[in-house]
Symmetry: C2
Subunit: 187 residues, 2 copies
């Protein structure tokens, strides 16, 4: 048994918040050290690859979370409509009604897009595909399911941008509601 005072996984939420708030380049090791309470020694013990590995680990952590909380329920929920509804609830909570940024989306827009392109791509394509699949099970015509799924996911991302730009959480919630209504209307 290792004695394990700190674990690598313990730092991931803090790292996530940092990258969300300051972006990749804006998040310095000094900031990370301060927020996590870990010195550089510990940091490089857990993440030999440095900042780049930290960001990769955070992305992987986010991916796991979404897989468990969003994608899997969409995939395996017996009641597809209910699963879609649950997705919107989960999303609203996770992004704190627009007060919290989507790190994957932010990375997609930013200068680090190239470095994490594969993960970013996967996150979005899986999400869209699982939602489309659930929509088909809920009765949406095959031809429309994919387009509607794209629409909903883009809407979520755009609502995050707009809500943050206008500092308006209510806008985010309204947008989610309309996006959901649009999906269930044609299902």
């Amino acid at each position: 048994m290792p004695r394990t005072i700190h674990e690598r996984a313990d730092t991931l939420p803090a790292l996530g918040e940092l990258f969300r708030e300051h972006g990749y380049e804006g998040t310095s090791l000094a900031l990370i050290s301060a927020k996590t309470g870990l010195g550089k020694g510990s940091l490089y013990h857990f993440f030999p690859g440095g900042k780049e590995e930290m960001a990769a680990a955070v992305l992987a952590h986010i991916d796991e979370w979404f897989e468990r909380q969003v994608f899997k329920p969409l995939r395996e929920g017996e009641d597809a409509r209910a699963a879609i509804h649950a997705m919107f609830r989960t999303v609203d909570e996770y992004f704190r009604s627009g007060r919290r940024v989507c790190l994957v989306g932010a990375f997609a827009l930013g200068g680090v897009r190239g470095r994490y392109a594969e993960r970013i791509n996967q996150y979005f394509s899986v999400w869209i595909e699982e939602l489309a699949s659930a929509l088909r099970r809920a009765g949406t015509p095959r031809g429309r399911a994919r387009a509607s799924a794209e629409d909903a996911i883009a809407m979520i991302q755009g609502a995050l941008v707009a809500a943050r730009a206008l500092d308006d959480a209510a806008l985010f919630r309204r947008a989610l509601k309309r996006a959901e209504a649009r999906l269930t209307a044609q299902a």
Copy 2:
């Protein structure tokens, strides 16, 4: 008369591309110097406030462009429907079908949001308001115009994120088309 070999305004497009590609923190003075061909001396001659002033100038420049090319046509176009249609065309061109990022949106998500909060807020609120106004003139019920405008602008931003994440310009164009169809359907 000043001899004016270079003008401040000449640098703004290059600065814009840099900030779009690398983000605020990721855009170093060395990068700026290389891309503009101007030494630090010239740069600080034109922008005594340094990088912060450069980014502010770029945002102002973008604002002017949108005012002239997007907001004003929305406001003054006699045929409101045609003006809205033209807006989507202009947007598709400006963002190069999703290959180009919205700097204002990227700043809204990033760590510099606080520094330019007012400008970011203004850009989005003006855009939404002008679109809503055009929608009302086009026959959209008053109660729905504002919500539909929010929807369309969020959709544009979200489509930029998704298109960039998936490296898929076609997705951007599809999303714009659906957003426009949604607006004109109820007008």
